[in-house]
Symmetry: C2
Subunit: 147 residues, 2 copies
DNA sequence: ACACTATTTATAAAGATTACTATGTAAGAA
DNA sequence: TTCTTACATAGTAATCTTTATAAATAGTGT
């Protein structure tokens, strides 16, 4: 199942004239397998064992390529560095203010707000971005323990 | 009216034990007066005439303080630097992908999605963030001219 | 196997933000 | 008003993330 998505992604890349390299494959695999919304540095560190000579630039380069092909979504949550999410189905994100964890949740896509915004501002609307912020269950229990 | 908001903001700061300095006052005024969603550097440059010796760090320090008190909202749109918005009423933002302009538009606050997200994930929800992206009218006409 | 070109590596550089320290100053107390 | 003290500022260095660059390497079609 994960492999299905990966195959589809690789095919999609080939169609865009993107060559497959071991590093690229590994980064893609990592994004498909892990659902942890990693930063570029997370990926770099996670693959350091398998690719001791891999450059950070390679991670960034590939994330840019994946973004251009539409396989990956970049998210920037203010303070820290960008996080990257393999695009599967339509979902939104909820982010823990305490530990930074990102969790998916499904919700009907807000098409309406796009048309409203377009009418009010005259913009040609392309997309929107929605995130919910709060405290995750484990951080909640920690906080209540510490009191 | 702008002065009202400013007075309220100053009072709010005092209640939090924050001292008023000319620089702080000026940064606050700028945020209240301008509705341009400035970056830290925008503010720094705008006040350079009045405060030739002001440090960039001062701008950042104050923006952090304002954020902590809840007067200002930080927004990070991926590539560029953070933008800061004086919190007045509930509104959302639409951002031009071409020129980066940020425009407000009013839309009923999406309370529902917060409760849905909370139910689905177990998070204690605090707030959410929604932005619409597209092309602003002037960039649209430029693009159609250039063809 | 060859040739062509994308990709990787390694490093430098850029840009944004934060850390640090000496100096200055706001605000309450005497 | 003057004093005092903690907070704020200026100036600079440092950090962190991301991008640019150039030479070496390696996919992919022929």
């Amino acid at each position: 199942m994960g492999s299905e998505m990966l195959d589809h992604a690789v095919q999609s890349l080939r169609e865009h004239g993107v060559r497959m390299t071991p590093q690229r494959q590994a980064i893609l695999e990592y994004l498909v397998t892990e659902h942890s919304h990693p930063t570029a540095d997370d990926i770099y560190k996670a693959l350091a064992a398998r690719f001791p000579n891999m450059s950070v630039a390679t991670v960034y380069n590939n994330l840019r390529v994946f973004k251009e092909v539409g396989l990956v979504q970049e998210m920037n949550y203010g303070d820290a560095s960008s996080r990257f999410d393999f695009v599967t189905s339509k979902h939104y994100h909820i982010i823990c203010d305490t530990c930074g964890k990102v969790v998916d949740f499904n919700y009907p896509v807000l098409d309406e707000i796009e048309s409203v915004a377009s009418q009010l501002t005259g913009f040609k609307v392309d997309r929107h971005r929605l995130e919910v912020y709060g405290t995750c269950p484990s951080c909640q229990s920690e906080q209540s323990q510490t009191h």
